[in-house]
Symmetry: C2
Subunit: 335 residues, 2 copies
């Protein structure tokens, strides 16, 4: 556990932009697809509908979200000094996805640097932390963090409990210096428990099971999750993580009007109020309508809570999540 | 161009660790493999031999390099607060490679966070910059940056000029606060010119050409490079990049005893002395014996120069590179 004790940095989430694929996929459609009884997918996952891409590409979705975020943040594209793509579903292996976002957006050649960050479901949270550090260090006036997840092409219909859980989405955020006095990003904490590395995996698309290796089977290029084991592990490791976090930051659960968690699963989000000490009034969830959108989940739930008026400028927000690894993450910010 | 003007951070590259696969692949062997005339591969690439994995896995190579780096840096594994895996050849899509390095090393559960950074050939340089920022911000006592590249499984024998160029290697580095007064890491600069995004590509293993998409062909899961176009682009964009870098940092070519460039290609390394104003005495190259090891190239050349006594503690070193994107990067450090 490494928590930054200095005062939060005077850095702001200046704006969000969201792109949701047009295609709505109701859970009944998945019951037909998976061969599960009517109502099974919604009951098992807590997801009523999710969006899946039809023909949208990663860079189109990402660039659309980015344009909206730049407008929302009132930031000139020429002021973007860095594009970080933060997701677990890249466009391709080489070059990194951020390069294609720069190109699709038509950002000035050489005007920004591009790299990708991957911590699976926590990719956006890690990228936000790095962006805040870089802006605080005076390196860039504005950083674009783009998270575009297309989960739908990697789901295994033979594992309906996880295949029914995921949705596609792109969310972009612009990080700048705080303009008002209030906004701040601080107190991030991440820790990885790699004994759980095999509990949520996509074992293909790398050196271990290369796409051209004749021994690579189709299921290796699909997402596989041991949901029950993950929940069991989370129940064990999250409470001491939270205790350490609140001790180190000198805060407590009631300091946060809003908690935006990763929309890991029905049990995962439910545990926050049933086991981990938060109240239902604090916890934001869009799982029923969006599903688990991997790294796009936290920023999507955040953006929708802002849109709905549930989070306003100056509000103190706790971002919380877990991701494949198993990695836990928490971040305290003033929106 | 965004150059950090404040004084370099009091952060050190505390130690390197290298793992090279045992299998040596002389260029004559590749002439037989590719069907090129004897001597062709070495003449075309400037690479006499390179290492290719036989059965070493990504996490084995990475962990071996990491153990050596921790010993070299005299850092207790329990002090590692963050593992960053920085490469363009991940172990698998989910979870990120750093998780498997934590597990293979036997680092304490929850004692460190794990994420991956990808900027293709510049992944290590970007990760080093981020690690320096994080150590400087007081977030971690020690950060392990691990770069493990297995290029050999993704080469296209029908493109012998690029297939003959690449080698496999793992390099780990430990970043800590400076112990002596001298060591510092500072003045990084990166810029991406995405009009060159298609000049070096591996178009598979993502959403664009998913491994399970029946339209995905084997060549899409191989590396493809337009070498001549890349060289042409580099000749155009590197000189103004260097001019801006030296102007912004107030330094000049002769301030650096040693320049460690990415071992992009014979022409790429050669251009530094033939076109870009450096002297042969400054430029480190291990291309002839290692090939282009993607993101492991810069740290491998650096580690070998330290081993050979060419770089000593207190020396000022310029790290320079280009990567798929096209991204250019430069960093000034005192070893």
């Amino acid at each position: 556990m490494n928590v930054e004790r200095p005062p939060p940095r005077g850095v702001a989430l200046a704006g969000f932009g969201v792109y949701l694929p047009e295609r709505r996929v109701p859970s009944e459609e998945l019951d037909s697809l998976f061969g599960t009884p009517p109502g099974w997918v919604e009951r098992a996952t807590g997801v009523r509908e999710r969006r899946w891409v039809r023909d949208e590409t990663t860079e189109q979705m990402a660039a659309c979200a980015a344009r909206r975020a730049l407008v929302a943040a009132d930031v000139d594209p020429d002021d973007v000094g860095l594009v970080i793509a933060a997701s677990a579903s890249p466009r391709q292996l080489i070059p990194c996805t951020a390069v294609f976002v720069q190109r699709e957006l038509g950002l000035r050649e050489g005007g920004s640097a591009c790299f990708d960050v991957d911590a699976t479901c926590l990719s956006w949270l890690v990228a936000l932390d790095l962006a805040a550090l870089l802006v605080d260090a005076g390196r860039h006036r504005a950083i674009l963090v783009v998270t575009c997840e297309t989960a739908s092409c990697s789901l295994n219909p033979r594992e309906p409990e996880s295949a029914g859980l995921f949705g596609d989405a792109a969310v972009a955020t612009v990080v700048t210096r705080s303009r008002g006095a209030a906004s701040a990003i601080g107190c991030p904490s991440f820790e990885t428990h790699s004994s759980g590395a095999n509990l949520a995996e996509f074992v293909g698309a790398g050196t271990r099971h290369h796409p051209n290796d004749s021994a690579t089977r189709a299921e290796m290029n699909m997402f596989h999750m041991q949901g029950k084991a993950l929940v069991k592990m989370a129940r064990r490791i999250v409470p001491p993580f939270l205790d350490r976090y609140f001790t180190a930051t000198g805060s407590s659960r009631c300091d946060y009007g809003v908690v935006v968690p990763h929309q890991a699963s029905r049990l995962g989000v439910g545990a926050l109020t049933e086991r981990f000490g938060f109240t239902p009034a604090q916890v934001v969830s869009n799982l029923a309508t969006r599903g688990n959108c991997i790294a796009a989940s936290i920023p999507l739930a955040f953006a929708e809570a802002v849109e709905a008026g549930r989070i306003a400028r100056g509000d103190r927000v706790l971002l919380l999540g877990s991701g494949a690894g198993v990695t836990l993450g928490a971040m305290d910010l003033v929106y």
